[in-house]
Symmetry: C2
Subunit: 212 residues, 2 copies
DNA sequence: ATTTATTAATTGACAACGTCAATTGACGCC
DNA sequence: GGCGTCAATTGACGTTGTCAATTAATAAAT
Protein backbone atom coordinates (compact mmCIF):
# COMPACT_ATOMS: atom_id res chain seq x y z
CA UNK A 1 0.00 0.00 0.00
CA UNK A 2 2.13 2.86 -1.23
CA UNK A 3 1.08 6.26 -0.11
CA UNK A 4 0.79 7.96 -3.44
CA UNK A 5 -0.69 6.13 -6.35
CA UNK A 6 1.16 6.86 -9.55
CA UNK A 7 -1.14 7.22 -12.55
CA UNK A 8 0.36 3.97 -13.71
CA UNK A 9 -0.72 2.20 -10.55
CA UNK A 10 -4.22 3.50 -11.04
CA UNK A 11 -4.38 2.34 -14.63
CA UNK A 12 -2.97 -1.03 -13.67
CA UNK A 13 -5.50 -1.66 -10.95
CA UNK A 14 -8.33 -0.45 -13.14
CA UNK A 15 -7.23 -2.81 -15.86
CA UNK A 16 -6.97 -5.66 -13.38
CA UNK A 17 -10.48 -5.03 -12.15
CA UNK A 18 -11.76 -4.87 -15.71
CA UNK A 19 -10.17 -8.21 -16.54
CA UNK A 20 -11.68 -9.81 -13.47
CA UNK A 21 -15.00 -8.22 -14.30
CA UNK A 22 -15.01 -9.63 -17.81
CA UNK A 23 -14.15 -13.05 -16.47
CA UNK A 24 -16.95 -12.86 -13.93
CA UNK A 25 -19.32 -11.72 -16.65
CA UNK A 26 -18.29 -14.61 -18.85
CA UNK A 27 -18.90 -17.11 -16.10
CA UNK A 28 -22.08 -15.82 -14.53
CA UNK A 29 -23.50 -13.02 -16.63
CA UNK A 30 -24.09 -9.42 -15.62
CA UNK A 31 -25.81 -10.30 -12.40
CA UNK A 32 -22.97 -12.54 -11.32
CA UNK A 33 -20.52 -9.73 -11.81
CA UNK A 34 -20.73 -8.31 -8.30
CA UNK A 35 -18.54 -5.61 -6.90
CA UNK A 36 -17.91 -7.60 -3.77
CA UNK A 37 -16.99 -10.64 -5.78
CA UNK A 38 -14.58 -8.59 -7.85
CA UNK A 39 -12.99 -7.16 -4.74
CA UNK A 40 -12.58 -10.63 -3.29
CA UNK A 41 -11.03 -11.88 -6.50
CA UNK A 42 -8.70 -8.90 -6.53
CA UNK A 43 -7.76 -9.60 -2.93
CA UNK A 44 -8.85 -6.26 -1.55
CA UNK A 45 -11.69 -5.05 0.58
CA UNK A 46 -15.21 -4.49 -0.70
CA UNK A 47 -15.03 -0.76 -1.08
CA UNK A 48 -11.53 -0.41 -2.42
CA UNK A 49 -12.76 -0.47 -6.04
CA UNK A 50 -14.66 2.71 -5.25
CA UNK A 51 -11.35 4.54 -5.27
CA UNK A 52 -10.86 3.56 -8.88
CA UNK A 53 -14.41 3.63 -10.19
CA UNK A 54 -17.37 5.73 -9.22
CA UNK A 55 -19.77 2.81 -9.10
CA UNK A 56 -20.71 -0.44 -10.77
CA UNK A 57 -22.00 1.18 -13.94
CA UNK A 58 -18.63 2.87 -14.25
CA UNK A 59 -16.82 -0.46 -14.13
CA UNK A 60 -19.15 -1.91 -16.70
CA UNK A 61 -18.55 1.04 -18.98
CA UNK A 62 -14.80 0.62 -18.57
CA UNK A 63 -15.00 -3.07 -19.41
CA UNK A 64 -17.02 -2.35 -22.51
CA UNK A 65 -14.73 0.47 -23.55
CA UNK A 66 -11.71 -1.83 -23.28
CA UNK A 67 -13.32 -4.43 -25.48
CA UNK A 68 -14.47 -1.91 -28.07
CA UNK A 69 -10.92 -0.71 -28.13
CA UNK A 70 -9.65 -4.20 -28.88
CA UNK A 71 -12.21 -4.57 -31.63
CA UNK A 72 -11.24 -1.22 -33.08
CA UNK A 73 -7.61 -2.30 -33.09
CA UNK A 74 -8.41 -5.48 -34.96
CA UNK A 75 -10.61 -3.68 -37.44
CA UNK A 76 -7.96 -1.12 -38.18
CA UNK A 77 -5.39 -3.85 -38.62
CA UNK A 78 -7.67 -5.78 -40.96
CA UNK A 79 -8.29 -2.68 -43.04
CA UNK A 80 -4.58 -2.16 -43.50
CA UNK A 81 -4.09 -5.62 -44.97
CA UNK A 82 -6.15 -4.98 -48.08
CA UNK A 83 -5.71 -2.25 -50.63
CA UNK A 84 -8.72 -2.71 -52.81
CA UNK A 85 -11.82 -1.13 -51.20
CA UNK A 86 -14.05 -4.07 -52.07
CA UNK A 87 -11.66 -6.65 -50.70
CA UNK A 88 -11.21 -4.43 -47.72
CA UNK A 89 -14.91 -4.44 -47.04
CA UNK A 90 -14.97 -8.21 -47.15
CA UNK A 91 -11.94 -8.39 -44.92
CA UNK A 92 -13.57 -6.04 -42.44
CA UNK A 93 -16.70 -8.13 -42.41
CA UNK A 94 -14.65 -11.25 -41.72
CA UNK A 95 -12.72 -9.42 -39.05
CA UNK A 96 -15.97 -8.44 -37.38
CA UNK A 97 -17.23 -11.99 -37.24
CA UNK A 98 -13.85 -13.36 -36.23
CA UNK A 99 -13.60 -11.04 -33.30
CA UNK A 100 -17.04 -12.00 -32.08
CA UNK A 101 -16.35 -15.71 -32.43
CA UNK A 102 -12.97 -15.48 -30.76
CA UNK A 103 -14.32 -13.33 -27.91
CA UNK A 104 -17.97 -14.19 -27.46
CA UNK A 105 -18.12 -12.83 -23.93
CA UNK A 106 -16.51 -9.60 -24.99
CA UNK A 107 -19.06 -9.29 -27.76
CA UNK A 108 -21.88 -9.97 -25.35
CA UNK A 109 -20.76 -7.37 -22.89
CA UNK A 110 -20.30 -4.91 -25.72
CA UNK A 111 -23.64 -5.34 -27.43
CA UNK A 112 -26.14 -7.24 -25.38
CA UNK A 113 -25.63 -5.42 -22.12
CA UNK A 114 -27.97 -2.51 -22.50
CA UNK A 115 -26.26 0.29 -20.69
CA UNK A 116 -28.93 2.89 -20.18
CA UNK A 117 -26.81 6.03 -20.07
CA UNK A 118 -24.11 4.99 -22.48
CA UNK A 119 -23.80 8.52 -23.80
CA UNK A 120 -22.49 9.67 -20.46
CA UNK A 121 -19.22 7.80 -21.01
CA UNK A 122 -17.41 9.78 -23.70
CA UNK A 123 -14.43 7.43 -23.79
CA UNK A 124 -16.73 4.51 -24.42
CA UNK A 125 -18.53 6.38 -27.17
CA UNK A 126 -15.19 7.28 -28.68
CA UNK A 127 -14.05 3.67 -28.95
CA UNK A 128 -17.39 2.61 -30.35
CA UNK A 129 -17.02 5.17 -33.10
CA UNK A 130 -13.44 4.16 -33.67
CA UNK A 131 -14.54 0.56 -34.15
CA UNK A 132 -16.96 1.61 -36.89
CA UNK A 133 -14.62 3.98 -38.62
CA UNK A 134 -12.74 1.54 -40.87
CA UNK A 135 -15.96 0.28 -42.36
CA UNK A 136 -17.24 3.80 -42.96
CA UNK A 137 -14.03 4.72 -44.69
CA UNK A 138 -13.98 1.61 -46.83
CA UNK A 139 -17.55 2.21 -47.91
CA UNK A 140 -16.74 5.75 -48.89
CA UNK A 141 -13.78 4.59 -50.90
CA UNK A 142 -15.79 1.92 -52.66
CA UNK A 143 -18.39 4.54 -53.44
CA UNK A 144 -15.73 6.81 -54.87
CA UNK A 145 -14.31 3.98 -56.90
CA UNK A 146 -17.78 3.26 -58.21
CA UNK A 147 -18.17 -0.34 -57.08
CA UNK A 148 -20.86 0.65 -54.60
CA UNK A 149 -23.92 2.78 -55.09
CA UNK A 150 -26.39 4.30 -52.71
CA UNK A 151 -26.53 6.27 -49.53
CA UNK A 152 -23.28 5.74 -47.61
CA UNK A 153 -24.86 5.81 -44.18
CA UNK A 154 -27.49 3.34 -45.29
CA UNK A 155 -24.87 1.01 -46.69
CA UNK A 156 -22.82 1.05 -43.53
CA UNK A 157 -25.89 0.43 -41.44
CA UNK A 158 -26.99 -2.44 -43.64
CA UNK A 159 -23.59 -4.07 -43.48
CA UNK A 160 -23.24 -3.65 -39.79
CA UNK A 161 -26.77 -4.78 -39.06
CA UNK A 162 -26.35 -7.90 -41.16
CA UNK A 163 -23.16 -8.88 -39.41
CA UNK A 164 -24.44 -7.99 -35.97
CA UNK A 165 -27.63 -9.89 -36.61
CA UNK A 166 -25.82 -13.09 -37.51
CA UNK A 167 -23.40 -12.88 -34.64
CA UNK A 168 -25.91 -11.76 -32.08
CA UNK A 169 -28.51 -14.40 -32.89
CA UNK A 170 -25.84 -17.04 -32.92
CA UNK A 171 -24.41 -16.00 -29.58
CA UNK A 172 -27.81 -16.13 -27.95
CA UNK A 173 -28.43 -19.56 -29.45
CA UNK A 174 -31.33 -18.45 -31.57
CA UNK A 175 -29.90 -20.16 -34.64
CA UNK A 176 -29.44 -23.86 -34.18
CA UNK A 177 -27.14 -24.61 -37.03
CA UNK A 178 -25.51 -27.92 -37.62
CA UNK A 179 -22.43 -26.74 -39.41
CA UNK A 180 -20.50 -23.94 -37.81
CA UNK A 181 -21.33 -20.31 -38.13
CA UNK A 182 -18.48 -19.58 -40.49
CA UNK A 183 -20.32 -20.81 -43.52
CA UNK A 184 -23.41 -18.82 -42.65
CA UNK A 185 -21.29 -15.76 -42.05
CA UNK A 186 -19.74 -16.16 -45.48
CA UNK A 187 -23.18 -16.42 -47.04
CA UNK A 188 -24.23 -13.28 -45.23
CA UNK A 189 -21.13 -11.45 -46.34
CA UNK A 190 -21.69 -12.47 -49.96
CA UNK A 191 -25.34 -11.50 -49.69
CA UNK A 192 -24.51 -8.12 -48.25
CA UNK A 193 -21.88 -7.51 -50.90
CA UNK A 194 -24.31 -8.25 -53.67
CA UNK A 195 -27.11 -6.29 -52.05
CA UNK A 196 -24.94 -3.27 -51.54
CA UNK A 197 -23.19 -3.39 -54.89
CA UNK A 198 -26.44 -3.28 -56.82
CA UNK A 199 -27.57 0.01 -58.23
CA UNK A 200 -30.18 1.59 -56.00
CA UNK A 201 -33.71 1.93 -57.28
CA UNK A 202 -34.69 5.42 -56.21
CA UNK A 203 -32.59 6.79 -53.37
CA UNK A 204 -30.21 9.65 -52.98
CA UNK A 205 -26.99 8.19 -54.18
CA UNK A 206 -23.52 9.45 -53.42
CA UNK A 207 -23.71 11.75 -50.46
CA UNK A 208 -20.64 11.41 -48.30
CA UNK A 209 -20.97 9.77 -44.94
CA UNK A 210 -20.12 11.79 -41.89
CA UNK A 211 -16.73 10.86 -40.52
CA UNK A 212 -16.67 12.61 -37.17
CA UNK B 1 -58.86 -13.86 -0.88
CA UNK B 2 -61.06 -16.69 -2.06
CA UNK B 3 -60.30 -20.05 -0.58
CA UNK B 4 -59.87 -22.06 -3.76
CA UNK B 5 -58.20 -20.53 -6.77
CA UNK B 6 -59.90 -21.46 -9.99
CA UNK B 7 -57.49 -22.05 -12.87
CA UNK B 8 -58.87 -18.86 -14.30
CA UNK B 9 -57.90 -16.90 -11.22
CA UNK B 10 -54.40 -18.28 -11.47
CA UNK B 11 -54.07 -17.35 -15.12
CA UNK B 12 -55.46 -13.91 -14.44
CA UNK B 13 -53.05 -13.16 -11.66
CA UNK B 14 -50.13 -14.53 -13.62
CA UNK B 15 -51.08 -12.31 -16.53
CA UNK B 16 -51.42 -9.34 -14.24
CA UNK B 17 -47.97 -9.92 -12.82
CA UNK B 18 -46.53 -10.31 -16.31
CA UNK B 19 -48.05 -7.02 -17.40
CA UNK B 20 -46.66 -5.24 -14.36
CA UNK B 21 -43.30 -6.91 -14.95
CA UNK B 22 -43.13 -5.71 -18.54
CA UNK B 23 -44.02 -2.22 -17.44
CA UNK B 24 -41.34 -2.27 -14.76
CA UNK B 25 -38.85 -3.60 -17.30
CA UNK B 26 -39.77 -0.83 -19.72
CA UNK B 27 -39.25 1.82 -17.09
CA UNK B 28 -36.15 0.60 -15.32
CA UNK B 29 -34.68 -2.35 -17.18
CA UNK B 30 -34.17 -5.87 -15.92
CA UNK B 31 -32.57 -4.79 -12.69
CA UNK B 32 -35.46 -2.49 -11.87
CA UNK B 33 -37.92 -5.31 -12.30
CA UNK B 34 -37.89 -6.52 -8.71
CA UNK B 35 -40.18 -9.12 -7.23
CA UNK B 36 -40.89 -6.92 -4.26
CA UNK B 37 -41.70 -4.01 -6.51
CA UNK B 38 -44.04 -6.15 -8.57
CA UNK B 39 -45.79 -7.37 -5.44
CA UNK B 40 -46.21 -3.82 -4.23
CA UNK B 41 -47.59 -2.76 -7.59
CA UNK B 42 -49.95 -5.70 -7.55
CA UNK B 43 -51.06 -4.77 -4.06
CA UNK B 44 -50.09 -8.02 -2.41
CA UNK B 45 -47.36 -9.10 -0.08
CA UNK B 46 -43.79 -9.80 -1.16
CA UNK B 47 -44.01 -13.55 -1.30
CA UNK B 48 -47.46 -13.95 -2.78
CA UNK B 49 -46.05 -14.13 -6.33
CA UNK B 50 -44.23 -17.28 -5.25
CA UNK B 51 -47.56 -19.09 -5.31
CA UNK B 52 -47.86 -18.33 -9.00
CA UNK B 53 -44.24 -18.49 -10.14
CA UNK B 54 -41.38 -20.56 -8.91
CA UNK B 55 -38.92 -17.66 -8.87
CA UNK B 56 -37.87 -14.53 -10.68
CA UNK B 57 -36.45 -16.34 -13.69
CA UNK B 58 -39.83 -18.01 -14.06
CA UNK B 59 -41.59 -14.67 -14.22
CA UNK B 60 -39.12 -13.40 -16.77
CA UNK B 61 -39.66 -16.47 -18.90
CA UNK B 62 -43.41 -16.00 -18.67
CA UNK B 63 -43.12 -12.37 -19.73
CA UNK B 64 -40.97 -13.29 -22.68
CA UNK B 65 -43.24 -16.13 -23.65
CA UNK B 66 -46.24 -13.81 -23.65
CA UNK B 67 -44.52 -11.36 -25.94
CA UNK B 68 -43.25 -14.02 -28.32
CA UNK B 69 -46.81 -15.21 -28.47
CA UNK B 70 -48.01 -11.76 -29.49
CA UNK B 71 -45.32 -11.57 -32.14
CA UNK B 72 -46.25 -15.00 -33.43
CA UNK B 73 -49.87 -13.90 -33.65
CA UNK B 74 -48.96 -10.83 -35.68
CA UNK B 75 -46.66 -12.78 -37.95
CA UNK B 76 -49.29 -15.38 -38.65
CA UNK B 77 -51.83 -12.67 -39.36
CA UNK B 78 -49.42 -10.89 -41.71
CA UNK B 79 -48.72 -14.11 -43.57
CA UNK B 80 -52.41 -14.64 -44.17
CA UNK B 81 -52.81 -11.27 -45.85
CA UNK B 82 -50.62 -12.08 -48.84
CA UNK B 83 -50.97 -14.96 -51.23
CA UNK B 84 -47.83 -14.64 -53.29
CA UNK B 85 -44.82 -16.12 -51.47
CA UNK B 86 -42.54 -13.24 -52.39
CA UNK B 87 -44.98 -10.59 -51.29
CA UNK B 88 -45.59 -12.64 -48.20
CA UNK B 89 -41.91 -12.59 -47.37
CA UNK B 90 -41.84 -8.83 -47.67
CA UNK B 91 -44.98 -8.53 -45.62
CA UNK B 92 -43.46 -10.73 -42.93
CA UNK B 93 -40.33 -8.65 -42.86
CA UNK B 94 -42.38 -5.49 -42.46
CA UNK B 95 -44.45 -7.15 -39.78
CA UNK B 96 -41.28 -8.04 -37.90
CA UNK B 97 -40.01 -4.48 -37.92
CA UNK B 98 -43.44 -3.05 -37.17
CA UNK B 99 -43.82 -5.21 -34.11
CA UNK B 100 -40.43 -4.19 -32.80
CA UNK B 101 -41.09 -0.49 -33.38
CA UNK B 102 -44.54 -0.63 -31.86
CA UNK B 103 -43.34 -2.61 -28.85
CA UNK B 104 -39.71 -1.74 -28.27
CA UNK B 105 -39.72 -2.90 -24.68
CA UNK B 106 -41.31 -6.17 -25.62
CA UNK B 107 -38.62 -6.66 -28.25
CA UNK B 108 -35.92 -5.86 -25.76
CA UNK B 109 -37.17 -8.31 -23.19
CA UNK B 110 -37.52 -10.93 -25.90
CA UNK B 111 -34.10 -10.61 -27.47
CA UNK B 112 -31.69 -8.61 -25.42
CA UNK B 113 -32.36 -10.24 -22.08
CA UNK B 114 -30.03 -13.19 -22.20
CA UNK B 115 -31.84 -15.86 -20.29
CA UNK B 116 -29.22 -18.45 -19.51
CA UNK B 117 -31.39 -21.56 -19.29
CA UNK B 118 -33.95 -20.62 -21.88
CA UNK B 119 -34.23 -24.24 -23.02
CA UNK B 120 -35.70 -25.21 -19.67
CA UNK B 121 -38.91 -23.34 -20.48
CA UNK B 122 -40.62 -25.45 -23.13
CA UNK B 123 -43.59 -23.11 -23.50
CA UNK B 124 -41.24 -20.24 -24.21
CA UNK B 125 -39.30 -22.27 -26.74
CA UNK B 126 -42.57 -23.24 -28.36
CA UNK B 127 -43.68 -19.65 -28.88
CA UNK B 128 -40.26 -18.68 -30.19
CA UNK B 129 -40.51 -21.39 -32.81
CA UNK B 130 -44.06 -20.40 -33.61
CA UNK B 131 -42.91 -16.84 -34.23
CA UNK B 132 -40.36 -18.05 -36.78
CA UNK B 133 -42.63 -20.53 -38.50
CA UNK B 134 -44.39 -18.20 -40.95
CA UNK B 135 -41.09 -17.02 -42.36
CA UNK B 136 -39.79 -20.56 -42.71
CA UNK B 137 -42.93 -21.59 -44.52
CA UNK B 138 -42.89 -18.61 -46.84
CA UNK B 139 -39.26 -19.26 -47.73
CA UNK B 140 -40.03 -22.86 -48.52
CA UNK B 141 -42.91 -21.80 -50.74
CA UNK B 142 -40.81 -19.26 -52.56
CA UNK B 143 -38.19 -21.93 -53.08
CA UNK B 144 -40.81 -24.27 -54.47
CA UNK B 145 -42.13 -21.55 -56.73
CA UNK B 146 -38.58 -20.91 -57.91
CA UNK B 147 -38.25 -17.26 -57.00
CA UNK B 148 -35.68 -18.12 -54.35
CA UNK B 149 -32.59 -20.26 -54.60
CA UNK B 150 -30.23 -21.64 -52.04
CA UNK B 151 -30.23 -23.42 -48.74
CA UNK B 152 -33.54 -22.77 -47.01
CA UNK B 153 -32.11 -22.64 -43.50
CA UNK B 154 -29.45 -20.23 -44.64
CA UNK B 155 -32.00 -17.99 -46.28
CA UNK B 156 -34.18 -17.87 -43.23
CA UNK B 157 -31.22 -17.12 -41.04
CA UNK B 158 -30.02 -14.38 -43.34
CA UNK B 159 -33.41 -12.75 -43.41
CA UNK B 160 -33.91 -12.95 -39.72
CA UNK B 161 -30.42 -11.78 -38.93
CA UNK B 162 -30.74 -8.78 -41.20
CA UNK B 163 -34.01 -7.71 -39.65
CA UNK B 164 -32.88 -8.41 -36.12
CA UNK B 165 -29.67 -6.54 -36.73
CA UNK B 166 -31.42 -3.41 -37.90
CA UNK B 167 -33.97 -3.45 -35.12
CA UNK B 168 -31.56 -4.43 -32.41
CA UNK B 169 -28.92 -1.85 -33.26
CA UNK B 170 -31.59 0.81 -33.55
CA UNK B 171 -33.17 -0.06 -30.22
CA UNK B 172 -29.84 0.16 -28.47
CA UNK B 173 -29.16 3.50 -30.13
CA UNK B 174 -26.16 2.26 -32.07
CA UNK B 175 -27.46 3.82 -35.29
CA UNK B 176 -27.92 7.53 -35.05
CA UNK B 177 -30.09 8.12 -38.04
CA UNK B 178 -31.66 11.40 -38.89
CA UNK B 179 -34.68 10.13 -40.72
CA UNK B 180 -36.68 7.41 -39.04
CA UNK B 181 -35.85 3.77 -39.13
CA UNK B 182 -38.63 2.90 -41.55
CA UNK B 183 -36.65 3.96 -44.58
CA UNK B 184 -33.60 2.03 -43.48
CA UNK B 185 -35.75 -1.00 -42.77
CA UNK B 186 -37.15 -0.79 -46.29
CA UNK B 187 -33.65 -0.62 -47.70
CA UNK B 188 -32.68 -3.64 -45.66
CA UNK B 189 -35.74 -5.55 -46.82
CA UNK B 190 -35.00 -4.73 -50.46
CA UNK B 191 -31.37 -5.69 -49.97
CA UNK B 192 -32.28 -8.98 -48.38
CA UNK B 193 -34.78 -9.74 -51.12
CA UNK B 194 -32.21 -9.14 -53.81
CA UNK B 195 -29.51 -11.03 -51.93
CA UNK B 196 -31.68 -14.02 -51.36
CA UNK B 197 -33.29 -14.07 -54.79
CA UNK B 198 -29.94 -14.30 -56.56
CA UNK B 199 -28.75 -17.67 -57.72
CA UNK B 200 -26.26 -19.12 -55.29
CA UNK B 201 -22.68 -19.54 -56.38
CA UNK B 202 -21.76 -22.97 -55.11
CA UNK B 203 -23.92 -24.17 -52.25
CA UNK B 204 -26.32 -27.05 -51.81
CA UNK B 205 -29.49 -25.66 -53.25
CA UNK B 206 -32.98 -26.86 -52.58
CA UNK B 207 -32.90 -28.99 -49.46
CA UNK B 208 -36.04 -28.48 -47.46
CA UNK B 209 -35.81 -26.61 -44.20
CA UNK B 210 -36.69 -28.47 -41.03
CA UNK B 211 -40.12 -27.48 -39.81
CA UNK B 212 -40.28 -29.14 -36.40
C1' DA C 1 13.68 11.85 14.46
C1' DT C 2 9.40 13.09 15.68
C1' DT C 3 5.34 15.20 14.42
C1' DT C 4 1.89 16.37 11.02
C1' DA C 5 -0.78 16.11 7.04
C1' DT C 6 -2.41 13.52 3.29
C1' DT C 7 -4.31 9.71 1.19
C1' DA C 8 -5.06 4.71 0.57
C1' DA C 9 -7.64 0.99 2.53
C1' DT C 10 -10.76 -1.11 5.82
C1' DT C 11 -14.66 -1.56 8.60
C1' DG C 12 -19.42 -0.42 9.96
C1' DA C 13 -23.81 0.44 8.64
C1' DC C 14 -28.16 0.74 5.89
C1' DA C 15 -31.60 -0.13 2.52
C1' DA C 16 -33.14 -3.18 -1.00
C1' DC C 17 -33.19 -7.58 -2.95
C1' DG C 18 -34.39 -12.95 -3.68
C1' DT C 19 -36.03 -16.59 -1.22
C1' DC C 20 -37.35 -20.05 2.44
C1' DA C 21 -39.74 -21.33 6.90
C1' DA C 22 -43.09 -20.49 10.06
C1' DT C 23 -47.35 -18.30 10.95
C1' DT C 24 -51.81 -16.39 10.30
C1' DG C 25 -56.23 -16.06 8.07
C1' DA C 26 -60.25 -17.50 5.56
C1' DC C 27 -63.33 -20.61 3.68
C1' DG C 28 -65.73 -25.39 2.48
C1' DC C 29 -67.22 -29.41 4.83
C1' DC C 30 -68.80 -32.67 8.36
C1' DG D 1 -69.18 -25.15 15.93
C1' DG D 2 -65.01 -27.32 14.95
C1' DC D 3 -61.69 -29.05 11.49
C1' DG D 4 -58.78 -29.48 7.61
C1' DT D 5 -57.07 -27.17 3.67
C1' DC D 6 -55.12 -23.82 1.11
C1' DA D 7 -54.08 -18.77 0.17
C1' DA D 8 -51.61 -15.01 2.06
C1' DT D 9 -48.65 -12.69 5.31
C1' DT D 10 -44.87 -12.09 8.27
C1' DG D 11 -40.24 -13.21 9.94
C1' DA D 12 -35.79 -14.19 8.95
C1' DC D 13 -31.23 -14.95 6.47
C1' DG D 14 -27.75 -14.13 3.25
C1' DT D 15 -26.23 -11.05 -0.50
C1' DT D 16 -25.83 -6.91 -2.94
C1' DG D 17 -24.53 -1.66 -3.93
C1' DT D 18 -23.05 2.19 -1.62
C1' DC D 19 -21.95 5.87 1.88
C1' DA D 20 -19.80 7.47 6.31
C1' DA D 21 -16.59 6.90 9.67
C1' DT D 22 -12.36 4.90 10.91
C1' DT D 23 -7.76 3.05 10.61
C1' DA D 24 -3.25 2.62 8.61
C1' DA D 25 0.64 4.05 6.14
C1' DT D 26 3.78 7.17 4.16
C1' DA D 27 5.52 11.79 2.30
C1' DA D 28 6.55 16.25 4.00
C1' DA D 29 7.73 19.51 7.66
C1' DT D 30 9.84 20.86 11.71
Amino acid sequence: MPKILTPNDVLQFRQRLCDLALKAFAEQGVEGMSLRGLAAAAGCSRTTPYRYFKNKADILAAVRQTQFQRMADENEAAALKEDDPDKRLTALARSYVSFAMANPDAYRVMFSVNQQDEQRYPELVKQIKRAQQPMKTAVNEALAKGTLHGDPANIVHILWAGLHGIVSLHLSDKLHLGRGIDELAEVMIRSLSRAVAAKPSKQASTRRVRED
